[in-house]
Assembly symmetry: C2
Homo-oligomer: 341 residues x 2
């Protein structure tokens, strides 16, 4: 007993219907609503086969069938294969990014907001990571008598700053001079390299221990990959409550408290390879709290080859084609936006 064309069409109909209604689908429904030219009895036989093949589950004997994770997987693979991602939402997304976005974080937050609005699911946007960013400029700005702000601009256009203590009374011009030296020596280096180079360089300068120490910490902290997850943007956290799957308060709570922990969420979303799209369905997510969720992700890239991830989390009966299309478009938009800078 194999999976012939007809079985597939019936399965597809079942999935479509279930995605729409969240109610177990019966044989009669399929034979009537989706005119297959087959009687309910025939559909029943096929459904029985499909259940045996593992594509359908039956909550109880006198209810209809619901698609299994395996069924969604097949469905999604089909979608991805034939690539019918008609981007109708293109203009909607584009419109949202017309206003100039100033900072990385603004863009990310905004993207998550838009994604969740368009899909009605929970959206997560991770900032770009990838090849270590290289320092372009480093500048020290006086803040008070014994503190300075260190600002680095990297080739990815991302700016990082922190206040560090400086022991001596350093005026603006001195700080500028130091900045120039540091920029000259460190420009083109990654933050990791900078950590190693720092002692050599400062050895030649008049030593200022506190400054050195501060810079060192700063580089160390910022070169740390974990830190990149600091600015995960999440939108539509409570959207999951729109779906009957999560009308159970206990379930909703465990989901929502997972949404609170950015770090965990980031690592869940981030675990993906080079794929343009990733779809993880139910158990495939590897997260118990998401046993009946699906996670769809896409990537975008910045001018200098860094990669970021955008993702949508919803019930397994997700509108995959819609979500994939929207993610695709959003990915393009973000890539464009970031390659501009």
């Amino acid at each position: 007993m194999g999976m012939d064309e007809r079985k597939f069409r019936i399965l597809q109909a079942i999935i479509d219907d279930y995605i729409l209604t969240a109610v177990p689908v019966g044989s009669r429904t399929i034979s009537k609503k989706y005119d297959m030219g087959l009687s309910s009895a025939t559909i029943r036989n096929e459904m029985s086969d499909l259940e045996e093949l593992g594509y359908l589950d039956q909550p109880h004997v006198s209810a209809g069938r619901i698609p299994s994770a395996k069924a969604y997987r097949l469905y999604v693979d089909q979608l991805l294969h034939q690539g019918l991602l008609h981007s109708d939402s293109e203009s909607a997304i584009r419109a949202h990014f017309l206003g100039r976005m100033r900072q990385m974080e603004d863009v990310i937050d905004h993207a998550a907001q838009v994604l969740s609005n368009l899909t009605n699911y929970t959206a997560v946007v991770l900032p770009p990571t990838g090849p270590q960013p290289r320092i372009r400029t480093l500048q020290l700005v006086p803040v008070s008598n014994n503190a300075a702000l260190v600002v680095i601009v990297t080739d990815s256009g991302i700016v990082r700053d922190a206040v560090i203590r400086v022991s001596e009374q350093l005026d603006s011009d001195t700080l500028y001079a130091i900045s120039k030296t540091l920029t000259k020596e460190l420009s083109g280096r990654t933050l990791k390299e900078a950590v190693e180079l720092l002692p050599q360089i400062t050895g030649r300068m008049q030593d200022n221990e506190k400054l050195l120490q501060g810079l060192n910490n700063f580089f160390q902290e910022n070169s740390d990959a974990a830190n990149h997850h600091a600015h995960v943007a999440i939108g539509g956290r409570s959207n999951i409550l729109n779906y009957p799957e999560y009308s159970d308060t206990e379930k909703a709570r465990s989901f929502l408290s997972l949404m609170e922990t950015r770090d965990k969420l980031a690592s869940i979303i981030a675990q993906q390879g080079e794929m343009a799209f990733t779809v993880r369905i139910g158990p495939e997510t590897g997260v118990p709290e998401m046993a009946d969720c699906s996670i769809v992700t896409a990537t975008y890239s910045t001018g200098n080859g860094q990669q970021g991830t955008i993702g949508v989390i919803g019930p397994t009966r997700m509108q995959y084609n819609r979500v994939l299309s929207i993610l695709g478009t959003m990915g393009h938009q973000l890539s464009e936006l970031f390659s501009d800078d």
Copy 2:
């Protein structure tokens, strides 16, 4: 019929019990659990009076009583008046802030996290606002051929930055020279004043339209009060689900989606005067979605007289004394932290 000592003690017992159990309180419960030396019948009479006075509500005739908003108000006023805020959580909070916090936002996020953990309610922390911050230093850092990063350091130690376009090819030294001029002219001014002064100053410089335009926008945007709300920190969003009052999914959803809109939330939390503590109960919040929530806020201040707000949102049957004590301690800690810088 007035409110005598005994009535008050009974009311207090009812409130305490209801806060604990969230179940309508009967006369028998009071007479047994809180040994008043009175029979249930007497309590019943008193409760009947208290209901007439508007301190108790009866969900239906054969259920116990629940405290009204008016009752909580009395209870809280009493608490505030006698000031018995024993800060047991002092050390817990202090411990959480031992590690150096680098940025304003980190502190704020962290504070919200800690607050929500300690109270088990939803916590909101607003960054300091108040007297317009005054510019201390302004510096332009080259980013690319046609863009520069403008960084201002204000007297409150808050740093704001943005990338602006510059048309001509300006090298690092030129930008530094411009920075020095601008710092000299603008130092001590508020951002609003800077907007007005800008044309005069740049009139004397070699004009660089794009730079001027960019700076103008930057000042404008950052002097805008609304912008200060950009970094509202929220912790324990889903804590509300721990309480039976919000086991109704529909209610939970409307609450949670309110928690998603930072702006609205900020304005709700922020509306308060000079008070050290504010307690708004149920209808007093003025927000329909929070008809059976209470909002408790406290303030903290920075070295230069700016004020921030921290708040906790929970069900009306909130553990007010605990929350007030924790908020008080947190307020102190934050004030200390910010006056340091």
